[in-house]
């Protein structure tokens, strides 16, 4: 199929195009029809007047004594034709093909009684003359200057007003149709089952209200599913805790052996998995922890000192006197996960604070470990995703650490970004909403 013009992409443009084209065509057609009708009736009226007038005038001139004729000429003159005594100007004889309507009228009325010759005068504007001889043999010339019917001066204005009305009407209709759709799309886009549902207003036309109600119901259903899943995870892990506790206690009564150590480390692994599972489930729930004003430097130092006190290599460089408003438990858990990750793969970690213009600030956890292959950067924050290299290691972990960190960053109004550093290693950056400034 050939397309002369590209079909517009947006619904608004398409609807506008359809509305405007069809309305303009309809309007144009009715306007043309009306004009044509009016033109025809006006012309036939005018021609019959013309015929009558010419007939009468020629008859009057014929009856008048030759001496009085000249005084009557001005009284018989009309706006587009007048009478001259004499043979008139020289012109070219008129062909039969291009006779105007008025020529036919003259032929039909006067032509019966007098022989009439028509000549076109190439003046500007061009006009024609009809030559005839009255019954006493005196020549008479009818000079006809056809003129176009004058157009009313308000007609273009009316047309412009109609066009404006069309455009305004189209715009209103398209807006009415598009607006609820845009609203729905925006609501769907911002839909996050982990956040309290943003209720869509159920108002407007019936179809729109119905769609909004359906959307709200869907949102609630999704939230309920997510909640159910989280509760299931929490319930399973909670019920696992008692048997794991019993097993661990029993193992401690066993005599020292390789088997005991293996059993112990297996149990520790299960315990870790359960713990991370609960933490992940909880990180997707809306938090009840209130946001408080906190000194960022003291907060990060307390975190880093805890690592240093247990002999881990964690370095910190942060500006002093920076106060942020955040939820410290969530932030602590998030940074702990990132630092633990760095320690696991690189044996050391560096914590830095970057202040971006516009008030946003970023906490970076840097290491010089193996990093993450570029193509897997966006996958490692998915729950239970593990790199092959990590899966084969004893330090593989649960595959939930970064997923929890990413969830928590989102719940703090920020974002977790991973990138490979120049010179090797991983940079995990948590961007947080604006700082409150200096203390």
């Amino acid at each position: 199929m050939r397309r002369w013009l590209p079909w517009p992409r947006t619904l608004a443009a398409r609807l506008s195009l359809i509305f405007l084209t069809s309305l303009l065509l309809a309007q144009g057609l009715s306007f043309a029809l009306q004009t044509y009708e009016r033109y025809n009736s006006a012309r036939s009226l005018m021609l019959s007047n013309f015929e009558h007038d010419i007939d009468t005038s020629v008859a009057i001139l014929d009856r008048l004594p030759a001496a009085e004729r000249a005084t009557w000429l001005s009284r018989l003159e009309r706006s587009n034709y007048r009478y001259q005594l004499g043979t008139g100007q020289a012109g070219t004889p008129m062909g039969a093909d291009d006779e105007p309507m008025s020529v036919k009228s003259i032929k039909a009325t006067v032509g019966g009684r007098y022989p009439v010759a028509f000549e076109t005068i190439e003046d500007s504007p061009p006009h024609y003359q009809a030559h005839l001889r009255l019954s006493d043999g005196e020549p008479l010339t009818i000079d006809v200057r056809p003129s176009i019917m004058p157009l009313s001066p308000w007609l273009p204005l009316l047309l412009a007003a109609q066009l404006a009305l069309l455009v305004a009407g189209t715009w209103l209709a398209v807006r009415t149709a598009i607006r609820p759709l845009t609203r729905l799309a925006r609501a769907a886009e911002s839909l996050d089952p982990n956040q309290p549902a943003a209720h869509l207003e159920e108002r407007g036309p019936t179809e729109v209200a119905h769609a909004a109600a359906a959307f709200n119901a869907m949102q609630q259903r999704i939230a309920a599913y997510v909640k159910e899943r989280v509760q299931l995870l929490a319930a399973i892990s909670h019920d696992l805790q008692t048997p794991i506790t019993r097993m661990k206690l029993r193992v401690e009564f066993m005599d020292d052996s390789v088997e005991k150590d293996k059993l112990w480390s297996d149990l520790t692994e299960i315990q870790h998995l359960v713990k991370e599972g609960v933490a992940f489930a909880r990180s997707t729930e809306p938090s009840r922890e209130p946001a408080i004003r906190l000194q960022l430097n003291a907060f990060l130092e307390s975190l880093v000192f805890d690592y240093l006190d247990t002999g881990k290599a964690v370095e910190l460089s942060a500006p002093h006197e920076l106060v942020i408003t955040s939820r410290p438990q969530a932030l602590r858990r998030l940074l702990t996960n990132l630092i633990d990750n760095a320690l696991k793969f690189a044996g050391e970690a560096q914590v830095q604070v970057q202040q971006h213009p516009g008030g946003r600030l970023a906490i970076q956890v840097l290491d010089r470990g193996p990093g993450v292959p570029e193509e897997a950067l966006s996958d490692v924050v998915k729950p239970f995703y593990r790199l092959e290299s990590s899966r084969n290691r004893d330090t593989g972990g649960t595959g939930l650490g970064l997923a929890i960190a990413s969830q928590l960053a989102g719940s703090l109004g920020g974002q977790l970004r991973l990138s490979n550093r120049a010179g090797g290693g991983l940079c995990a950056e948590v961007e947080l909403p604006g700082a409150a400034g200096a203390a």
């Binding site: 794991i244 019993r246 661990k248 029993r250 408080i292 805890d306 203390a439």
Partner: protein, 247 residues
């Protein structure tokens, strides 16, 4: 040396855990009594005294939090309580400490860790009983421009901005605030500040004091809060008061 054997009461609704813990502690030289719920606990404590109570939070009937609050209000208010919580969650820990527990342990735990914690709590309360009893109603300690929130374990400055503390910093500050105007030797400080993982094995007390001074914006040459006593140790020389909860 005290020849008396420490008596520990274990309250947990899971029979097996109760017995396994009891056996382990017995094997390690402690006297134990087991209780399955609050009713049994009350019945026993009506007639006897114990040195420490291990209390599970998640129990049918009266849970550990309710029982802990009850203990803190009655004649056993001075008996140290160690909470067992099933959730590795700040909320549980904070609530437990708010109710007046002395320490907490997350399930599943290792029996030897429980033993270590029991001994640490007993050592702390024996060595230097605190001058102030932090309670659910009054859990803020005020000194100078500062307030220490003993459940969230952070400092609040005059404007109410949170100044976080590391685990060791909190424990040391708490030791100082529990014993104001009293000279504490480095050895005492080390013992009382020692955390669950014996994390101060290598760290000098002096470094921790200097970190704490920095945190409190205390000038090391003319300290207002923590003063150095030559050849003896340190003293917290500022009056400390218990504050009602702001909420």
């Amino acid at each position: 040396m005290d020849a008396k054997v420490d008596h520990v009461l274990i309250v947990d609704d899971d029979r097996e855990i109760r017995e396994l813990v009891g056996n382990y502690l017995k094997k390690n030289g402690l006297r134990t009594t087991l209780a399955a719920d609050g009713r049994q606990m009350r019945a026993f404590l009506d007639t006897a005294q114990v040195d420490l109570i291990v209390l599970d939070i998640m129990m049918p009937g009266d849970d550990g939090l309710v029982l802990c609050r009850e203990l803190r209000a009655g004649k056993h208010r001075a008996t140290p309580v160690l909470m067992l919580t099933a959730r590795d969650d700040e909320t549980d820990r904070i609530i437990g400490l708010e109710m007046g527990a002395d320490d907490y342990l997350v399930k599943p735990f290792a029996a030897r860790e429980l033993l270590a914690r029991i001994n640490a709590v007993l050592r702390r309360t024996r060595m230097l009983p605190p001058n102030l009893v932090v309670s659910e109603q009054a859990r803020l300690l005020g000194f100078g421009d500062w307030r220490l929130d003993t459940t969230a374990r952070h400092l609040l400055d005059a404007q109410g901005t949170v100044v976080a503390l590391s685990g060791a910093e909190y424990r040391m500050l708490r030791v100082f605030l529990d014993h104001p105007q009293r000279v504490l030797s480095r050895e005492q400080l080390l013992n009382l500040t020692q955390g669950r993982e014996a994390d101060l094995f290598d760290r000098s007390i002096d470094l921790l004091v200097s970190r704490l001074r920095q945190r409190l914006l205390d000038d090391a040459r003319q300290p207002a809060y923590i003063k150095t006593v030559r050849n003896e140790g340190y003293v917290f020389s500022f009056p400390v008061q218990l504050l009602e909860n702001p909420s």
